[in-house]
């Protein structure tokens, strides 16, 4: 079982004994995935322990971004790839990025489309004269590939690699022998691009550490080359390939030290591409695009529409983006801000006043709104079609903000979802449902938490009354470092914002996203360093991202024993 949380008081150089899992039977934790499971004493700061370092393939998001930055193609070619799995919440989880024949076929089709568009004006692309002869075209092709391949592979290439791509180009002259010379040239260049875009050097972040030596006696832990580090940085902070500046630092071999890496991370966070990647993290963490699949009972909620769901999704994206990049930038503000972003339609829906057509900040009465916890995109999803769901809202807090994994109800549970009725409140209806001792054990973790959201109806609108009765939004939380009662979402948010456990959970989610894997026992020092830095930065999200580039997990690679021979 996984070590849970060291607390924020630990210094960076202490002996960390991995603790026992917590006892409460309703809650589990992610298991140690390497199956070793021994309890070992780590000396943080002395040992270099990067944890598992699986090879990482481009996700759909990364593929689209990379194609955009490599060839200026903004058509989102990855949209034809199958839906990605999200173990532990994130689609970049390395173990789930399998390749089936279907996907390989889509890679081929996507690469064909990209190459076709890139070579529409093949002479402009390659800088080649129109109506050259074959030797002239060949020289152009070779010279183009010498520029294109290092960009596509994000590192210098060998002569052999250029010759391999050239051979693909050259085969077009035979295949299209009955076509005009210019056509043969175009198809050849396109084919070389197609090949390049399907090779592992493009599709994967290949880390071989060529020219470097292991840093440990067992020869299992490798530092990264500056080129490898450039890609680690750019895919983590931008979700795309390195830019010119990053490549220049790699060329100068100046991405080796912690300080060099941190300086680049900070520079990159100032670029708009960081906003997209940070938005992607939050979208996957809270899965708020699921609001688009929500339906509501039209007799009760005629206001609900797909258009409204899209507005809520955009609200969430803008709120997170503005808080992290333009405003206070910290987790506390994400949790507690008494404002949001909305266009006129959405503002009116929430009971505010019409503004402009564009999204702009709207302020709510302070005690009625608290950041992420008051977002329509979450509150309408974590509700039933005809009423609120204190259970699901409580579960959301436990799973997304406290990183709990709740045990399932017994397989044979027969639950009678209460029908909404005009003479009762949701609190009354759901209190009855969880009074059963067989349910109340686990539901005591969720329901009293979820009741705190009762001021928000099934669409996420603030309300004082339900069926004429004044809302009782008192709630309580147990099995946390913020145990106790609270009144409404506002007080809950303040509690969550003050919780070390919530900070550690948010950092752990970022760990999973940043490193493309679940945390393991041997990541204890890395997690501890990250949480500590996050605490010292007063919960600043950008600083958390910088801290994630300063860990053993980011700066080193566990290669393990190298496989022998070929297949």
């Amino acid at each position: 079982m996984l070590w849970r949380r060291p607390g924020s008081s630990f210094s960076s150089c202490f002996s960390l004994l991995l603790a026992a899992p917590l006892a409460l039977s309703c809650v589990g934790e992610i298991g140690d995935t390497d199956g070793i499971g021994e309890t070992e004493e780590l000396i943080c700061g002395d040992d270099i322990v990067p944890g598992a370092s699986p090879i990482r393939r481009l996700t759909k998001f990364e593929y689209d971004n990379t194609i955009r930055d490599l060839l200026g193609d903004e058509t989102h070619p990855a949209s034809i790839f199958p839906a990605e799995e999200q173990p532990l919440g994130f689609s970049n989880h390395a173990s789930a990025l399998n390749v089936t024949p279907i996907l390989a076929e889509k890679y081929m089709l996507a690469a064909e489309g990209v190459a076709l568009r890139a070579t529409e004006d093949v002479h402009a692309l390659t800088g080649c004269q129109v109506a050259a002869d074959q030797p002239g075209y060949d020289a152009c092709a070779r010279s183009y590939l010498e520029t294109f391949a290092p960009k596509a592979f994000r590192r210098p290439v060998t002569t052999e690699e250029i010759e391999e791509l050239f051979a693909v180009y050259d085969s077009a002259w035979e295949i299209y022998a009955d076509e005009l010379v210019a056509k043969r040239f175009r198809e050849g260049v396109a084919m070389a691009i197609e090949s390049a875009l399907q090779t592992p050097a493009f599709m994967y972040r290949v880390e071989l550490g060529e020219g470097l030596s292991p840093v440990d006696p067992k020869a299992e832990i490798m530092p990264l080359t500056s080129w490898e580090m450039a890609s680690r940085l750019s895919y983590f902070i931008w979700g795309t390939m390195p830019d010119e500046e990053l490549l220049a630092f790699a060329e100068a071999d100046e991405l080796l030290t912690k300080e060099q890496v941190a300086a680049q991370a900070r520079r990159m966070l100032g670029n708009g591409k960081a906003r997209e990647a940070v938005a992607m993290f939050h979208q996957q963490w809270l899965d708020y695009d699921r609001v688009n699949n929500v339906t509501k009972d039209p007799a009760l909620f005629p206001e609900w529409s797909p258009a409204l769901a899209l507005l809520m999704q955009e609200e969430m994206r803008q709120f997170v983006d503005h808080v992290i990049f333009d405003e206070a930038g910290d987790l506390k503000t994400l949790l507690t801000a008494p404002y949001s972003y909305a266009d006129s339609n959405l503002a009116i829906f929430y009971g505010g006043e019409a503004s402009g057509a564009a999204f702009e900040r709207i302020d709510f009465p302070k005690n009625e709104h608290a950041g992420l916890l008051s977002m329509g995109a979450l509150l309408s999803y974590y509700a039933h079609t005809n009423q609120t769901s204190p259970v699901h809202r409580g579960k959301l807090v436990r799973e997304a903000f406290l990183c709990d994994i709740l045990d399932p109800p017994p397989a044979d549970v027969q639950f009678d979802l209460p029908e909404p009725s005009p003479d009762s409140t949701a609190r009354e209806r759901f209190s009855q449902h969880s009074a059963d001792p067989a349910c109340s054990g686990c539901h005591s973790l969720m329901d009293p938490l979820g009741f705190g959201f009762e001021n928000f109806d099934a669409l996420g609108r603030y309300r004082d009354k339900e069926n004429g009765q004044t809302i009782d939004a008192s709630g309580s939380i147990i099995d946390s470092d913020i145990d106790g009662s609270f009144d409404g979402v506002r007080e809950l948010a303040e509690k969550l914002a003050a919780s070390d456990e919530v900070k550690a959970c948010y950092a752990k989610m970022w760990f999973r996203y940043a490193y493309g894997r679940g945390e393991q026992e041997k990541d204890a020092c890395t997690l501890n360093d990250v949480e500590e830095a996050f605490g010292e930065a007063d919960g600043n999200v950008k600083e958390l991202l910088v801290a994630l580039t300063q860990t053993d997990a980011f700066l080193y690679r566990f290669r393990g024993p190298v496989a022998e021979g070929g297949d």
Partner: protein
């Protein structure tokens, strides 16, 4: 890969090397292994009147069918028009799905592997952790033999099957191997493009495209092969899996598919809607998407683009509404999974579920009647096919894997009895899987977890 059969990689390697001799193709010496495979394949191809056998598995979520009776009572009467071509099996147990790890909706997705799940990090609908399936699924096993000649080894279709919560083991029926899931294709327009878009182009153009792709993929293939020798064992496995996938694409370039004519016509799918992702996610479009996928499935059989297909209606645990269906005059807006949790005494909940089950049977009939309208020799394509329908659990308020129901349609070229109502007790469903494997012409006495090996269901064999 299962030890009993020739590893796919060995086959692909042979065929892959043929593509090196660009632009020539196809003539290469068979190794004894390949020769054995080809013999076995042609055995699997034994068919009545020269028509191939096909296999379809249809998944519907959450079980919740009322018990079938020999006289097709209740909404089972929806199936009566094809009664003579249908057999109903009651009482098989999904025993492999009873094994941990995982919660019932996760483990039930081992329907086609007949093996428990691996440990892993997928969080189930209610918190339990599980990994991928732990072995090859029946459709992929069949594809090793009957899928060699077609453009696609299998067609794995989903209808909003990735469209709720986290996407993970509950979105997958099909596996190439332990931990190697085969995702469903959930966008009908993408399916059309991949399968049908090059059927109508000119033969010279098709030939050029094929040679182009061979040349392009030849280098791709080499690069994976080479890199795999330089990395850790775990990474190597990933890269070799990618290489296998590339080789399968290479191999299939020689099988561009059938010729348009007769029953093989381009399916009409219309233009994809503008905001296709939100269209595909909207519960209101579930039925329309399903209709398109079934049209594509039937036509890919008619054009012999594949002979093995799965169709997954929603992800397991499906917690979505059926707003186009009515119960007592009002649309069904309840979370379907929640309805199944209701006690047996909850009349409205089970009334709604009955409407939903009847609708699934209507969809089954739509596909069956399509297949039955395609003449093949003295019979129809349905006669040469076996279509199987089932779910990951039998009943929502027990989450039981016991006493599962299977609807079978078509005799698979006369191999299976039809018009039968068979009741079993305590028999693992692995017995059905091996029977279906045999029906498709693939030899063997067991499929899936050896613990549940009880041989085939002899009373189902004609």
């Amino acid at each position: 890969m299962s030890g009993r059969n020739i590893p796919r990689r060995a086959i692909l390697r042979g065929l892959g090397s043929a593509s090196l001799a660009l632009p020539l193709m196809s003539s290469f010496a068979c190794t004894p292994e390949e020769q054995r495979l080809i013999e076995k394949t042609s055995k699997a191809e034994q068919r009545a009147g020269g028509f191939p056998k096909r296999f379809v598995f249809i998944y519907t979520p959450n079980g919740n069918y009322t018990a079938p009776t020999a006289d097709f009572s209740g909404y089972w009467s929806t199936l009566l028009p094809l009664q003579n071509k249908i057999s109903v099996l009651k009482g098989l147990d999904l025993k492999a799905c009873q094994k941990p790890p995982g919660e019932p909706h996760q483990t039930g997705m081992a329907l086609l592997t007949g093996r428990s799940l691996n440990p892993g990090e997928f969080v189930g609908g209610d918190g339990t952790l599980a990994g991928w399936g732990s072995g090859i699924s029946l459709d992929q096993e069949l594809a090793k033999y009957v899928g060699v000649m077609t453009k696609r080894a299998t067609l794995n279709l989903g209808v909003q099957s990735t469209n709720y919560g986290g996407t993970e083991v509950r979105t997958i029926l099909s596996y190439l191997d332990s931990d190697v899931p085969v995702p469903n294709e959930t966008n009908p327009w993408n399916v059309y493009d991949a399968l049908f878009s090059d059927l109508s182009t000119d033969p010279v153009g098709v030939e050029k495209l094929r040679n182009r792709r061979k040349s392009v993929l030849d280098l791709v293939d080499k690069k994976y092969d080479k890199l795999a020798t330089k990395v850790s064992a775990a990474d190597k496995q990933k890269l070799l899996q990618h290489l296998d996938a590339v080789r399968e694409v290479e191999m299939r370039l020689d099988n561009p598919g059938g010729v348009i004519g007769g029953f093989c016509q381009l399916p009409e799918v219309g233009e994809a809607p503008g905001a296709v992702d939100s269209y595909l996610g909207d519960p209101n479009n579930f039925a329309d998407i399903g209709r398109l996928q079934m049209d594509l499935l039937a036509m890919s059989f008619a054009c012999d683009l594949t002979r093995v297909a799965t169709l997954q209606w929603s992800a397991s645990t499906n917690n979505r509404p059926y707003p186009w269906l009515q119960y007592q005059g009002a649309p069904i807006l309840d979370d379907e999974h929640g309805l199944g949790h209701m006690p047996d005494t909850a009349t409205d909940a089970w009334g709604k579920l009955a409407v939903i089950r009847e609708w699934y049977f209507q969809q089954l009939m739509y596909l069956l009647q399509k297949l039955d309208a395609i003449e093949e020799g003295d019979g129809t394509m349905l006669d040469n096919t076996v279509v199987v329908l089932s779910s990951e659990i039998s009943r929502g308020n027990t989450h039981s894997h016991m006493d599962q129901y299977f609807v079978l349609a078509g005799s698979c070229g006369g191999y299976l009895k039809t018009g039968e109502f068979l009741q079993y007790a305590e028999r693992p469903h692995n017995a059905l899987l091996v029977t279906l494997m045999n029906a498709m012409g693939v030899e063997g006495t067991a499929f899936g977890d050896p613990e549940f090996n009880t041989g085939p269901l002899s009373e189902l064999v004609a």
